[in-house]
């Protein structure tokens, strides 16, 4: 595939591997950052349309330069470190949010060959990385030395820990169906002669819903954005942040959204596989599915009011965890019969 790079490879010798890896990382991170920027524009546009408005359209044609203008604004703003804060932790917290959000991309396959690290325990790795993201939020809330930030971080920590269990069980059913922790193998397990009907969304539909909703909760998106809760605790854990430090939280949140969208399409919607048998499999399908899931995220935000905190906890512990536990047993039993066709 990469034959034309061979002369460069020979020139660099042993330095080739690290350099090539860094190049590959850049090739994932740079488009991701661009996608994050334009996801913010898409969000404002879509929510605008659903509220019969037209959304940003002043900066550039169709508002296309709006993300750049926002980025520039945040770059130029001063980063204010509150005098009562814990300086070191205050500065490190936004990095701790962004770092796991980017690290998780290492094992995400874009098509059958295009993957940075084809790790065997890819799914576990993703679970571990997404569970690390909560530290940035907790540290930000604690280090700010502000009551609102602290309330926001406590809410966020409790919420993420509760929904991670349901999310984990949803993933358990997927890996039972695929019999592999490797994300590439999970997609290949959904390959078949019937296109869409071979995807795991058919047998695991309840888990798809549980995973999608838990994903919304994990990324602190509306209607589960009690950690930010603009109308009750101002902006929650990042109330004291400004400028680029605030932008990093933003980048982390949107990168996580895109990650959840990718995982949903890999595990339930057949990744890069084509929905109909007569069209070829391609990365275009993957991006289309991701765009659809992201659109769902925006649609949720435009439609639903914020959950009250006790309702949110009830949903996580009393609805999702029992439902996902039952479905794990159902899938296990189903797989022992001859009616398991996937």
């Amino acid at each position: 595939m990469m034959d034309w790079l061979l002369p460069v490879q020979n020139l660099l010798g042993p330095a080739w591997l690290p350099i090539w890896t860094v190049v590959k990382i850049m090739l994932i991170v740079a488009p991701l950052m661009g996608a994050v920027a334009y996801l913010t524009l898409a969000e404002r546009k879509v929510i605008g349309w659903m509220q019969i408005r037209i959304g940003p359209n002043r900066v550039g044609y169709f508002g296309l330069l709006q993300p750049l203008a926002d980025g520039l604004k945040l770059f130029m703003k001063e980063i204010i470190v509150p005098s009562g804060s814990n300086k070191f932790l205050f500065v490190i917290a936004p990095i701790m949010v962004l770092m796991p959000a980017l690290a998780a991309w290492a094992v995400v396959p874009f098509n059958a060959e295009l993957v940075l690290s084809n790790a065997n325990a890819g799914l576990l790795y993703i679970l571990a990385m997404t569970s690390l993201g909560v530290y940035g939020v907790i540290i930000a809330g604690w280090a700010s030395n502000s009551k609102y930030a602290f309330l926001g971080c406590l809410r966020s920590a409790a919420q993420i820990v509760s929904y991670e269990i349901a999310m984990g069980f949803a993933l358990v059913t997927v890996l039972m169906a695929a019999q592999s922790l490797n994300l590439g193998d999970i997609v290949k397990g959904q390959h078949g002669n019937y296109g869409m009907l071979n995807w795991y969304i058919i047998p695991l539909f309840p888990m798809f819903i549980v995973y999608l909703i838990s994903g919304v909760a994990e990324t602190n998106r509306a209607p589960f954005d009690v950690a930010e809760g603009e109308s009750e605790i101002v902006a929650g854990f990042h109330v004291e942040y400004s400028g680029m430090a605030f932008a990093l939280f933003f980048l982390g949140e949107y990168a996580n959204m895109i990650l959840v969208a990718f995982l949903t399409s890999i595990m339930f919607l057949g990744g890069w596989l084509s929905p109909v048998p007569f069209l070829p499999d391609s990365i275009v399908w993957m991006l289309g599915k991701v765009a659809f899931v992201l659109f769902l995220f925006l649609w949720f935000r435009a439609t639903f009011p914020r959950y009250r905190y006790d309702q949110l906890m009830r949903l996580g512990w009393k609805v999702f965890i029992p439902v996902s536990l039952i479905w794990v047993v159902v899938v296990g039993a189903w797989m022992q019969t001859s009616y398991w066709l996937w």
Partner: protein, 162 residues
């Protein structure tokens, strides 16, 4: 039976889907955004915008310094000082409106016996300092002079309802 129906209704997220169908429909509805500097919504002739002091046709200022507006102003934004002019008429020496206090209720306009203080249709004005929004008598008279034609037309249109 009812209970079972309720259970499935909540469990299958029927109501949430209904809500999403509604917002989904609205996504394709005609947008009602008014692109402000390019497009403007129609204004009523009773629009209450920036204040102005009016004059008679002969150039004489209308205000007689009765202080009714000062008394009625709920935000206490108006300040008036009165003295006798050389020709023996009662006139104001000071007529200030603090637009940062004003709530644009229109009571001053209602209370004025000679239609001197009015609120115009102007709403796109700004000040770069706090003091810029403290309008004194010459400033109010200047606003009145500038928009007199429109002001007179609006008063005429409103007169049949009074």
């Amino acid at each position: 039976m009812e209970k079972i129906k309720d259970f499935f209704k909540t469990f299958l997220l029927i109501e949430l889907l209904k809500g999403m169908a509604l917002t989904g429909r609205y996504m394709f509805a005609r947008k009602i955004t008014v692109q402000f500097p390019d497009e403007k919504t129609p204004q009523s002739f009773r629009f209450r915008g920036l204040h102005a002091q009016r004059r008679y046709e002969n150039g004489e200022e209308r205000c007689i310094g009765c202080k009714l507006c000062e008394a009625v102003c709920p935000a206490m934004a108006i300040k008036i000082a009165v003295a006798e002019r050389e020709d023996g008429t009662r006139r104001t020496t000071q007529y200030d409106i603090d637009l940062t206090k004003c709530i644009f209720c229109g009571f001053c306009e209602e209370s004025c016996p000679v239609d001197a203080i009015v609120e115009t249709r102007v709403f796109e004005y700004h000040g770069e300092k706090r003091g810029d929004l403290y309008y004194t008598k010459p400033m109010l008279l200047a606003v009145g002079d500038k928009h007199e034609a429109q002001i007179a037309k609006d008063r005429l249109a409103d007169s049949k309802y009074r």
